[in-house]
Symmetry: C2
């Protein structure tokens, strides 16, 4: 029934991926820095706000995003904005400002030079 | 040393996420349809082409992307192009055409109406 459109739009308006990678060898990793708690808090807030799903927001688990030096990290696409976070207040601000209102939280953006 | 730039660019030129979700209850899921093989093949090809890393391509594991009706699926950001694939030839075409050369593989794009 649907025809494909020449200009693709994003299936999700915003798609945030949390690194939940857990290193087997005991090395430092996002999973040791409350990444799972951040993911769950974000997911719950988006769900409770009724913003989950097509045309809205998807909160996703991801493997290692390979920017460990800034961990724990999450990336919001299609904007390609990378965040680091340390506590619940950081997650709340990402949700309220960026995921709900499209306004980047500058103070939590990962500096470009931080990689693996 | 680096200063942050006012116009953010994507840390990875292209970031592809493969759904590797494995449902506990035995329900159908991407993991039952060679998603892992697709991910590994894609990752190896990008690595062998010397295209891994900042400014280039990242091939990522992801949890459920919630478009199960089209599974197995992968999404390429920041373009927000969703793919389905059934075999190695599909992966090879996504790598050669899209990830290396930026040309969308129309025949493998997920129809917009396919969701969960």
């Amino acid at each position: 029934m649907n025809q494909s459109t020449p200009e693709p739009t994003s299936y999700y308006e915003r798609h945030i991926f949390f690194c939940l990678n857990e290193r087997k060898n005991g090395e430092d990793c996002c999973a040791q820095h409350k990444a799972q708690e951040g993911f769950e808090r974000c997911k719950l807030q988006i769900k409770e706000a009724g913003l989950s799903g097509k045309g809205h927001v998807r909160v996703n688990k991801a493997g290692c995003l390979d920017r460990c030096a800034a961990g724990p990290v999450a990336v919001v696409y299609p904007e390609a904005v990378w965040y680091t976070f340390v506590d619940a207040a950081d997650i709340d601000e990402i949700v309220e400002s960026h995921l709900k209102n499209g306004k980047v939280v500058d103070r939590l953006v990962v500096p470009d030079h931080l990689g693996r």
